[in-house]
Every structure is written in structure tokens, then in C-alpha cells.
């Protein structure tokens, strides 16, 4: 009996030592994290370009999971709501408002790593907060804007306007210039359904959320913005509703459109590359007009509360967001710079004078609409029907307000709307 007991004790000791050894071995294994990002050919490539050097310097292995925008949004949300924890650090923006509660507060990390120093003024404040804590870190800011053929504007003696009213009154003249050069006046990715709100946001400066915290468009301002859109649509290329983002960009790059309404970061690098563009040295980014708030695409990195390696995830964010990468990512991929030093670099500022000033201005006035994914999707589809002429501006606004009245505004977006003046006063 004593012998048997001794044997069992011995086995238990061996098992305990073994499990400790295995634990040590596990602890010695380098940390690995997964980063979800949009497969845009820019953000994903930029992340991939620093992956190896990051592993060498930190020992952290990063898996980059890149998806098209809609799939990325879906995968991130599903991962959080099912508590899967597949993605440690996620790319997203305000449309993830429904799941903000699943991200960790980054306040401590930001203070510890002194992140945010040197960023464009106000950029950190434009990031997402939940219950007063910052949950998103900015990377790759972009503001919907208009690229135009500066050479043809100069030839015709046309100045870039400063208000939408001036721009609209200039459109007949711009059409003449475009026709004379055998090109379309305006190119826009009307075939990408989620892009439809871009035309509206930059002309609308009303509220999205009422005092009693319900979604609602300010009817008079919304109708006025849509009526202006109607005029713009009549100057679009006849097939604009079939153009994807790449198709619309290609049209401008190929010298077949006078103006391109776009996300600049998807096109500026190519526009300055003689291999990819026929408009090198001929284009400029226009300053956005008043009234309205250009659609801000402030990609942010969020750390999932299900991440087993939040510290490693934050180190990855720090590796991605720094002054050196800011410049190289801009030059290589066209990703919008977010550090003041990039804009203050004399050589760069001179080389990119056709873009920098307008870009900085556009960032400063751009805003994320305080809309949840569901609210924005419905709005985008309604705007699609409006663009097709199936409904009037008035009907569109009524239809949207009616549907929005049935939706709940996520708490995080109410704070955002208050901060950015998009809530009824």
C-alpha cells in the first residue's frame, strides 16, 4: 500500500514538473497577434511592409488578416459579438459603434508609450471614445475630396471655388472645358453602394441626432444638400452608377475626367506615378467647400477585450504609427499623413504642394457621421434610389427619417455627435 502510494506521488511530481516545463516553454514562445485590416492595396501593404522588422525588434509575430471593407466590418463585429478573440487588434471606425463595449480602454497605454505626440492637432480627439476612455488609435486619415485637372482650370482661367453654390454655378463652364477635351466632367464611384453618402455628407451641416437622442436628418438642410447633389449628378459620366472605386479612379488617372470625387488616399500615389497615370503634374486636390463636413475616414486600431496579448497589440500600433512610417507610407502607398512633421518637411511640402494644403484643411473640417452600420447602410441605399431618380429629395429625407426613427443610437455615437456638433442643440 505504501509502495503504491509512493509510486502515485512520484508520478504526480513528474507530471507537475513536466507541466511547469511546458508552461515555461510556452512563456518562452514569442507572442503572436492578429491584425485585421482593409485589403485596399494600401493599408494592408503598409502593415505587411513592417511586419518582419517588427518581429525582429520585438519578437512579436503579427498575422495580417486583410479583407475588403464590407467583409472586414462583418468579421470584426462577428469576432467580438461571439467572443472569439481571433483578431487582437482591429481596423475600423465609427460604424463599429454597436460593439464599442468590446474594446479595451487605451488611456493607460497611450500615456505609457506617449503616443499621440506630433500628430496633427485635434486628430486624437477625433478618435473614438467609449465611456470617456479612448478606444481607437488613428492611422491613415482620409477625407473625401475632389481631385481636379489644375492644368485645364489654369488654361481656362478658372479659380477653385470656396462654396458649393459657386461650384454649382461653375459646372456649365467646367462641362465646356471637359467637352472640349473629350472627357467627362465628373467621375464618381456610384457603383459602390456604400460610397453614396459621400456626396451628401460634404454638403450637409445639419444634425444627425435629435435632442432626445434619435436619428434624424434636419429636413430643410438635407433637402437642400440633396437638391445640390441632383445638379452634380447631371454632370456625372453617364455610366457613373456602374463605376467601382477603381473604375472611377482609373478614369481620372487616364485623363478621361476633369474632376474626381474620391478618397484621395486611394489615388494620389498613383496620380503622381508616371507608370500609372497620365495626369502627373496636371492635377491638384481641391479644398472642400462650405457648407458641409467632408466624410472623414479615420481608420483606427482597436484592441479587442478578448485579446490574449493587448500589450503586444499596442506595441504593434506604436510600430505602425510613427513619424518615419508616416512619410514612407504616404510616399509609397499614398496613405494620408497624420504627423505634422510630414507636412512641415520642406522638400515634401514643395513636391506635394498640389495636395498638402488642401489635405490638411480637409482633415480639419471633415467629420465622421454619427451613424451606426445599420443606419448608414439604409441611408446609402436610399441615396442610391435618389441618385437613380426613383425618389425625390423630399421623399428621400422622409423615408430615411421614418426608418431611422425605429433604430437605436449607440451611446458612443451620441458622445461623438455632441463633440462634432452633429447633434441637435
Amino acid at each position: 500500500m505504501r509502495k503504491a502510494f509512493g509510486l502515485i506521488l512520484c508520478l504526480l511530481c513528474v507530471a507537475t514538473i513536466g507541466s511547469f516545463a511546458a508552461g515555461k516553454k510556452e512563456a518562452a514562445t514569442p507572442a503572436s497577434i492578429t491584425f485585421s485590416v482593409m485589403a485596399s492595396g494600401t493599408y494592408d501593404k503598409a502593415a505587411a511592409s513592417i511586419k518582419d522588422s517588427f518581429k525582429q525588434s520585438s519578437g512579436i509575430d503579427v498575422t495580417i488578416a486583410a479583407f475588403p471593407w464590407a467583409t472586414l466590418r462583418q468579421n470584426n463585429t462577428t469576432d467580438l459579438l461571439t467572443a472569439t478573440g481571433k483578431y487582437d487588434i482591429m481596423s475600423g471606425s465609427y460604424y463599429l459603434a454597436d460593439v464599442y463595449a468590446n474594446f479595451i480602454s487605451l488611456d493607460e497605454y497611450i500615456a505609457k508609450y506617449k503616443l499621440g505626440q506630433g500628430l496633427l492637432p485635434g486628430l486624437m480627439q477625433k478618435c473614438e471614445f467609449y465611456n470617456g476612455h479612448q478606444i481607437g488609435l488613428p492611422y491613415g486619415p482620409d477625407a473625401y475630396g475632389i481631385l481636379y485637372r489644375k492644368d485645364l482650370f489654369d488654361q481656362a482661367g478658372v479659380q477653385w471655388p470656396s462654396t458649393w453654390a459657386e461650384f454649382v454655378s461653375l459646372l456649365p463652364k467646367l462641362k465646356q472645358i471637359a467637352d472640349a477635351n473629350g472627357m467627362a466632367t465628373l467621375a464618381f464611384a456610384g457603383g459602390a453602394p456604400e460610397q453614396a453618402p459621400a456626396l451628401f455628407f460634404d454638403k450637409y451641416d445639419g444634425y444627425f441626432i435629435t435632442k432626445d437622442k434619435k436619428y434624424q436628418l434636419q429636413a430643410d438642410k438635407a433637402v437642400a444638400a440633396l437638391n445640390m447633389d441632383r445638379t452634380l449628378l447631371s454632370y456625372m459620366a453617364s455610366d457613373f452608377m456602374g463605376l467601382s472605386i477603381d473604375d472611377a479612379n482609373a478614369r481620372f488617372l487616364g485623363g478621361k475626367a476633369l474632376l474626381l470625387i474620391c478618397w484621395p488616399s486611394f489615388v494620389v500615389a498613383a496620380a503622381d506615378d508616371p507608370q500609372k497615370s497620365q495626369v502627373v503634374g496636371k492635377w491638384a486636390l481641391g479644398k472642400s467647400f462650405t457648407p458641409g463636413r467632408p466624410w472623414l475616414s479615420l481608420w483606427q486600431m482597436y484592441i479587442s477585450k478578448y485579446s490574449k496579448n493587448p500589450e503586444a497589440a499596442f506595441k504593434w500600433a506604436v510600430a505602425l504609427i510613427n513619424e518615419q512610417n508616416d512619410k514612407s507610407f504616404y510616399l509609397t502607398y499614398g496613405i494620408g499623413p497624420e504627423f505634422s512633421s510630414t507636412y512641415q518637411d520642406a522638400a515634401l511640402a514643395q513636391q506635394h504642394a498640389h495636395q498638402f494644403a488642401a489635405q490638411q484643411y480637409n482633415f480639419s473640417v471633415a467629420a465622421n457621421p454619427p451613424l451606426s452600420g445599420e443606419a448608414q447602410d439604409y441611408f446609402a441605399s436610399s441615396l442610391g434610389d435618389f441618385a437613380l431618380g426613383k425618389i425625390t429629395a423630399q421623399q428621400c429625407v422622409e423615408q430615411v427619417n421614418q426608418k431611422w426613427a425605429t433604430m437605436t443610437v449607440p451611446v458612443g455615437l451620441i458622445d461623438d455627435a455632441q463633440k462634432t456638433g452633429q447633434m441637435q442643440k
Binding site: 456610384g190 456602374g242 463605376l243 473604375d247 451606426s372 445599420e374 442610391g384 426613383k390 437605436t408
Partner: protein, 301 residues
């Protein structure tokens, strides 16, 4: 003693399918019944990790007042009717004209069923490229004839026509294969007798082929009606429901509600509405088949 042995054996035999029964109950019956109970509760996963309280028929009532759902239902109906009818007719024509055992006909049949074996998502992606107004193959072909191709996926009417055409292209082979099987079961003596009687090809078709194929036609109709009403992949990959709401079908809307916005209860209610409708359609078709067959043959099969 013997009776007890038999009982014992039956009991032991019943144990064999038990694991399979348990798996089916857990994997199929439980989720289905759970979704039914959820449809009577208030649960949006984004707001709460646990289901909310009982709300009775509120989600079902909401569905009937939801303009997007009602519009999506109308689009699904158009899709279902147009695609099913054309697939059945074209499938029958293809089967009828490729009937036979010659090498050429066998090769033709093999080629014709190829679209069916392509993954629907890949199929949609290929078609999106073919239908691209600028660089697409279809408009390139049209331009060689001097015609300017339209914006297939950007125009609301053409977009719906396009997704219907994609479904027809992919699933007509299914109808063809089933019709081929049905045609091969018609006794050859009937054709011989018809020939002796001097029956024309049209008469053979009307009096022999179609009556014999009635059960097959109903099977194809049943499968295609259910399948086209629940279409999602071709639309997800080509138009994503657009432009505007023009190709937004019920399945896409249910997918958005349940798995994109995580409105689990409302999504469940919509799913149950559509399931009930498709089941009702299936039963109606089966009854219609029995009636038609008894009127043709004078007996109920």
C-alpha cells in the same frame, strides 16, 4: 423467453441510430426551435449578450410594416418567377435536344452542366467582371458589333435582369440533368407505338413526353422555386442589393438583419416567415402535382 429476447434485440438495435438522432437533434432541431423562440423575444446581440423578454408577435408585426422587407419580398418574387420559369423551360429544351447516347450528345451534356459545378460565389464574381461596363467581356463583344453596351449592374432594371440571368446560367443545367433522367425513364415502346400510329413529333411531346414528365417537372419547380426565393450568393457578389434597393432580396435583408446588425430576434422572425411561405408553396405544389397526375392518368400516384 423468446419474446424477451426479441425485445432485447429491438432495444439494442434502437441504440445504434441513437448517436445520429442525438446529433441531428442537437445540430438541426435545436437551432431551428431556438430561432423560433427567439422570434418571440427581443434580442439584439449588439446591445445585450443575453436574450431580452417575451414580446409576442411584435417582430412578426414589425416585418409586415417594414417597407424594406416588403420591397425585398417583391424583388424576390420577381426573381423567383422569372428565373424558375426560364430555367424549367430552357432546361427541358436542352434535355430534349441532347437526348441520346451518341458521343457528341454526351459531350454536349457534360459541357452544359459545367456552370452548375462552379461555386456560386466564384460564379458571381466572374459575372461581375463580365458585366463591368468599362472593361467587361460582354460590352467588349457588343462593341465589336458597333453597339455601346449598357451599364448592366448600375441600372436598376438591368441589374435585376442581370442577376436573374446569372441564376439562369448557373442553374438551368440542374433542370436539364433532372429532365434528362426523366426522359430516359420513358419506355421506348411508347415512342415505337407512336411512330407506328404516325404521330408527329409535337404529338409525341404533348401526349407522351410531357405527361410522363409531370412528376419531374414538379420536382424541378419545387427545387428551383425554393432555391431562387432564397438566392443570396449571386446578388451578394454582384450588386450587394443595389443600385439603391433594386436587387435587395429577402435573404440578403435577413442576412443583414441577423448577421450584420445582429438583430437576432427580428432576423429569426423574418426567417420563419419565409420558411413558412416556402413550405406552404412546396405543399401546394405537391398537391397540384397529385391532382394533375390523377387528371392525366385517372389515378392518384
Amino acid at each position: 423467453m423468446r419474446r424477451r429476447n426479441v425485445r432485447h434485440e429491438v432495444g439494442a438495435l434502437l441504440l445504434f441510430p441513437l448517436p445520429a438522432v442525438i446529433i441531428i437533434l442537437v445540430a438541426q432541431a435545436f437551432p431551428v426551435l431556438y430561432s423560433l423562440t427567439m422570434s418571440f423575444r427581443d434580442w439584439a446581440l449588439a446591445s445585450s449578450l443575453t436574450p431580452g423578454g417575451f414580446v409576442g408577435l411584435a417582430n412578426y408585426v414589425k416585418a409586415f410594416h417594414d417597407t424594406v422587407f416588403l420591397h425585398a419580398f417583391a424583388v424576390s418574387l420577381q426573381f423567383c418567377v422569372a428565373a424558375t420559369l426560364l430555367e424549367v423551360v430552357l432546361g427541358f429544351i436542352l434535355a430534349y435536344f441532347t437526348m441520346g447516347e451518341s458521343r457528341a450528345l454526351r459531350v454536349a451534356r457534360t459541357i452544359l452542366i459545367l456552370p452548375m459545378v462552379i461555386a456560386p460565389v466564384a460564379n458571381g464574381t466572374i459575372w461581375r467582371m463580365i458585366l463591368n461596363p468599362q472593361y467587361g467581356l460582354l460590352n467588349a463583344i457588343l462593341s465589336t458589333f458597333g453597339a455601346r453596351g449598357p451599364d448592366w449592374l448600375g441600372n436598376p432594371v438591368l441589374a435585376l435582369v442581370s442577376v436573374i440571368a446569372i441564376d439562369i446560367w448557373q442553374w438551368t443545367p440542374f433542370a436539364m440533368v433532372v429532365f434528362c433522367a426523366g426522359l430516359s425513364l420513358i419506355p421506348p415502346e411508347l415512342y415505337d407505338a407512336a411512330q407506328v400510329d404516325g404521330a408527329s413529333r409535337t404529338r409525341v411531346l404533348r401526349s407522351i413526353v410531357i405527361p410522363y414528365l409531370v412528376p419531374v417537372i414538379f420536382i424541378v419547380l419545387l427545387f428551383r422555386i425554393v432555391d431562387t426565393f432564397l438566392v443570396i450568393d449571386a446578388i451578394y457578389t454582384t450588386t450587394f442589393g443595389g443600385p439603391g434597393f433594386s436587387t435587395n432580396v429577402v435573404t440578403l435583408y435577413i442576412y443583414w438583419q441577423a448577421l450584420r446588425y445582429f438583430n437576432i430576434s427580428f432576423g429569426s422572425a423574418l426567417s420563419w416567415l419565409i420558411s413558412i411561405l416556402t413550405l406552404a408553396t412546396a405543399f401546394t405544389l405537391m398537391r397540384a402535382q397529385r391532382r394533375l397526375q390523377s387528371s392525366i392518368w385517372g389515378v392518384t400516384q
